[in-house]
């Protein structure tokens, strides 16, 4: 693997993570839609609660994919974004709905309000995966030429292959969501709910598998070159791996082994993404190889260093979050700690020398920033900001210590004020 291909590997890994984790998040919205009645309340609540702590992080993978792609392959990014403007915009609207629905959900007071909010989420769970899937289909079937909006605004993504991959993305999300939600329901001891999602997962898994088979026929008729690449060489191995992982997931679900089923389902998706990459290599867009599309060496090295350094922070953080989630740290009833109970240290106003000290420091900083010139400017600003931060905390303490104007304490305050 050369330096020019490495960012693409990051993009594909990010895309896999987004398809699995983000896909499951959107899928949860679909299940909320399909259980909109009053009987489905437990299902909807579970879907919301289960995704709450992780949905945001799951969506950042899409940002990761975008920013690595546009930095490493700028011309390809410009070509894709301009030709596929319509599905990209539809995906954007779906993402707005998703975030808004999440923000609103905590304010819902009645089941009717919750249903309405979940409906917005459900719309996003169809719009966004479909639009992003259709974009993949458009690229894979070579309908995105190099150039500023050089491809067809509609035909590029409203064609059999693109539509099929869009639908497949929606179905795969629903499948993954059901698998994950079944596992989460068992963890919180809701076996009935777990079985409900198990049934849904089995149905969605069977449907996704059937869809994939039909899809092969569609792709063969619509994009023969893609079909040939997928069914020969390394492409076919990836497809086979995906089929095996998919069947394994169904078998694990059948036996209600939800934890391993999570990983098998993720592997099935990863194999599909890998298969697409293998089928298409070395081309990124028609007439543009990955190597030709890549940015210069300095940029690629910077991406490599940046991603590796970032991963040192990202992966431990992600591991912490997922470990807490999977161990049930955020589950209902996991409350272990209350408020701080150590003896009170009542707030006292800071000593009388500090305001003069900080004001002097702040003034000196401001003076340097205004009249120092050169390197003294940033130094002055730094001094000023430090003094301001320390001064903020001190002044907040000072202000909070004064309780003269509070109703409940009026009596006590009056007593205190008398000499």
């Amino acid at each position: 693997m050369s330096l020019t291909e490495l960012p693409l590997l990051f993009v594909l890994l990010g895309l896999t993570a987004y398809a699995v984790l983000g896909g499951a998040d959107f899928g949860a919205g679909l299940w909320q839609l399909l259980s909109a009645g009053s009987r489905g309340r437990a299902l909807r609540e579970h879907a919301h609660r289960s995704m709450g702590p992780v949905w945001e992080a799951n969506h950042v993978w899409l940002i990761f994919v975008l920013v690595i792609f546009w930095t490493a392959y700028p011309v390809a990014f410009g070509s894709i974004a301009s030709t596929l403007a319509v599905p990209l915009f539809i995906a954007a609207v779906g993402i707005i709905l998703r975030g808004t629905a999440y923000a609103l959900r905590s304010g819902a007071r009645s089941d009717r309000e919750a249903i309405r909010i979940d409906l917005a989420f459900a719309m996003s769970s169809i719009l966004t995966p479909f639009a992003l899937g259709a974009m993949v289909g458009a690229i894979a079937s070579e309908r995105v030429p190099v150039g500023n909006a050089a491809g067809a605004l509609w035909g590029s993504w409203l064609n059999p292959t693109a539509i099929f991959i869009g639908v497949l993305a929606v179905a795969a999300g629903a499948y993954m969501a059901a698998v994950f939600l079944a596992g989460d329901a068992r963890r919180i001891g809701q076996e009935e709910l777990a079985q409900a999602f198990r049934r849904r997962a089995l149905a969605a898994g069977a449907a996704t598998g059937a869809l994939a088979l039909i899809g092969l026929v569609v792709v063969r008729a619509d994009a023969r070159a893609l079909f040939d690449d997928l069914t020969s060489g390394p492409g076919v191995a990836a497809l086979a791996a995906s089929a095996v992982a998919g069947l394994a997931t169904l078998a694990l679900l059948w036996r209600s082994a939800f934890e391993p089923a999570r990983y098998a389902a993720a592997a099935a998706v990863a194999a599909i993404v890998g298969g697409w990459a293998l089928a298409q290599q070395p081309m990124l867009l028609p007439g543009l190889t990955v190597q030709e599309a890549a940015a210069g060496r300095a940029t690629l090295v910077a991406i490599l260093v940046g991603v590796l350094a970032g991963s040192l922070i990202l992966f431990p953080s992600l591991a912490l979050l997922f470990r807490m989630v999977l161990r049930g740290a955020f589950d209902p009833g996991a409350t272990r700690h209350g408020a701080e109970r150590h003896p009170r240290h009542p707030l006292r106003p800071p000593g009388s020398a500090w305001p003069r000290m900080l004001a002097t420091a702040g003034a000196a900083g401001a003076g340097l920033a205004l009249f120092g010139g050169g390197w003294r400017e940033p130094l002055g600003i730094a001094v000023l900001l430090t003094a301001a931060a320390a001064g903020s905390v001190g002044l907040v303490r000072l202000a909070l210590c004064d309780e003269r104007d509070i109703d409940v304490l009026d009596a006590a305050a009056r007593v205190r004020r008398k000499p």
Binding site: E56, A81, N148, T299, A302, T335, L385, V396
Partner: protein, 457 residues
Amino acid sequence: MVEVTFLAAQLPPVEQAYLLEARQMQALSFAVHIPLVCFGIAFPSLVLLAEWLHLRTGDPLYRTLARRWSKVMLALFAVGAVTGTILSFEMGLLWPGFMAAFGDVFGLGFALEGFSFFVEAIFIAIYVYGWDRLSPRAHFLSGIPIAVAGFTGSLMVISVNAWMQNPTGFRLRADGQVVDVEPVKALFANPYLWPQLTHMYVAGYLVAGFLVAAAYAVRRLRGDRSRYVRTALIIPLTVAAIAAPVQIVVGDWIARQVAETQPTKLAAFEGLGETTRGAPIHLGGWYVDGEVKAGIEIPRLLSLLAAHDPDAVVEGLDAVPEAERPPVNLVRLAFQTMVGIGTFLALVGGVHVVTLLRRGRMPLSPWFLRAVVLAGPLSVLALIAGWVATEVGRQPWVVYGVMRTSEAVTGADGIPVGYATLVVVYTALIAAVAWILRRLARVPLEDAPQGAERVTD
């Protein structure tokens, strides 16, 4: 490799009848997103300050406050995350020429910002869902990465914007090819970066501080004299009150940077038609035919501000051809709005700080509280005006002096349709945010506010 890294042959400029609409669409997305960014920058620190007060005193009121604010923080972060995602989509949707030509120069900034965003999303979840589930100390610590990532995130995004104002770290060959790209130098060795970052970072504290304070000032004015409301007013107001005068010093710093690197923009800020020695400033008025009409003239002030020398020569708009000047009146109005409101905020802040220091109590007269109520929305207006000044002031360039916005825009049809859709979606979004904030504010206080050590969920 060489034959595809250039813009000219691969993504040639196209005719786009709706360039202005594309710019407005970007501006709308930005105006919706940027106030949320302020909450991403400053709100975690305010929440952590309240929680720290709880850890120190054991007083449950501060915990209640931090806990309730953290729910607001989470909701605003969710909306900020999706509106930020839209902005990143629009980079490609609206400006593919810009991305194709320079993505390899500035893209690294966004790639690093992606990691900040990850850290923010992860720890905000741990923090907000971790109440009662983590030990008090661990919970407090889990909030610190949110504040740090808020800073690094703005550092990365501003590094890109600063590069657009003062592009370096590449070479433009005679045939239009971008070569010798040095992304790290382009983003982080830019003298424009630090003033701009500081200006935005302090603005974050101003906007979040005054907006939160305004909400509680309203409650206080309506007669709620509880300790809870008073505490919730003091914390954000005090922080913003100190930030406001600091912002004036920072503003002076960035203004001199603009004078040095973007003289045409500075000329547009002040409506300076001709290059002038000892240039004045006009308050108000309107720019017509190379001069400001009906404004109040303050002689030599522009020279003094731009170069700290009342006799300095300031370059006027006439230094560049007409086609390379920004729309002066819009930029000037935006700049004056920002400076005017900034002065008002500094006055409000000054009254608060001086009263606190001299009398040991915050000013609580109705008139002061009304000024605080006004300061909330005005600070948002100043924020947006400031960004209008810097971004419209950069026009007609997307990359200052290098690439015109018209060369960056997409060739795709349908911009008006997308723009109209976005207006509808964002109107609904703003209504939704208003709804959820009201709802969260009306949830009854869960912890006993007056000192009982009882915590109920």
